[in-house]
């Protein structure tokens, strides 16, 4: 019975990942693509957790936690690169080191 529960969650997460990947491929601006890839990464964390429960091995949660950290850092880095064309210093403006 609980397997059906985890399967429902996994299927919903997979469909949502497919939809946000559609936006990542179609997206007119680069910001749409960053948003869609960030959402896909966040959904991957949940998919890893649900798969750990489905398989009876909740140790997968450690991988999910690590994936959440990497996803956040990656999104911030890409956003800063797109905004300033540089990861170290902005081109102009007083807000040096800003995100």
């Amino acid at each position: 019975m609980t397997d059906i529960l985890f399967a429902v969650a996994a299927i919903a997460v997979l469909i949502s990942m497919a939809l946000s990947m559609v936006r990542a491929f179609v997206g007119p601006t680069v910001f749409d693509r960053i948003l869609a890839v960030n959402t896909t990464g966040t959904l991957t964390v949940v998919l890893i957790a649900v798969y750990g429960f489905l398989d009876g091995r909740p140790e997968f949660l450690d991988i999910g936690l690590l994936y959440a950290l990497i996803n956040f850092i990656g999104t911030i880095a890409v956003t800063k690169y797109v905004k300033f064309r540089d990861l170290g210093h902005p081109i102009e403006g007083p807000d040096e080191g800003d995100v």
């Binding site: 609980t2 429902v8 969650a9 949502s16 936006r23 601006t29 680069v30 909740p58 797109v82």
Partner: protein, 130 residues
């Protein structure tokens, strides 16, 4: 102290235990909001409104699914790890949205007219109203 959250809520209501009912409730709500947010990401018109869909996925969708998983955990450390993931997503999701919105405005995406612009246009087109 009970071994798990599942044993703590092991009160049979009908065919399932209370923990199972709460799990089904949370996971179905989370699945609904995750799908709705993903449809929003595909269907909404510009970046700033798509961020609303991403926020739905991040907050209600994912948090409800993770809370639903908590009731099925076999050990307290699993509940703590799920809580850590929840706490992390709770702080990083608004931060990412803020950085992305600033980058989008800096990058020249038009956020649309403000409320003042719309009101000014309305009073200009209808002078008898004022």
């Amino acid at each position: 102290m009970p071994e798990t959250l599942y044993e703590l809520l092991h009160i049979m209501i009908g065919p399932l235990a209370l923990a199972d009912w709460l799990s089904w409730l949370c996971i179905l709500t989370g699945a609904f909001f995750t799908l709705t947010g993903a449809f929003g990401i595909v269907r909404l018109p510009d970046v700033f409104s798509r961020m609303h869909g991403a926020g739905m996925v991040d907050t209600l969708g994912i948090m409800m699914i993770l809370i639903g998983l908590m009731f099925q955990a076999e050990d307290w450390i699993v509940v703590i790890k799920l809580g850590l993931i929840l706490l992390f997503i709770f702080f990083t999701s608004p931060t990412t949205t803020f950085a992305l919105a600033r980058a989008a405005i800096y990058g020249g995406v038009n956020p649309g007219p403000t409320v003042e612009d719309i009101q000014k246009k309305k009073t200009e087109s209808d002078p008898s109203n004022s």
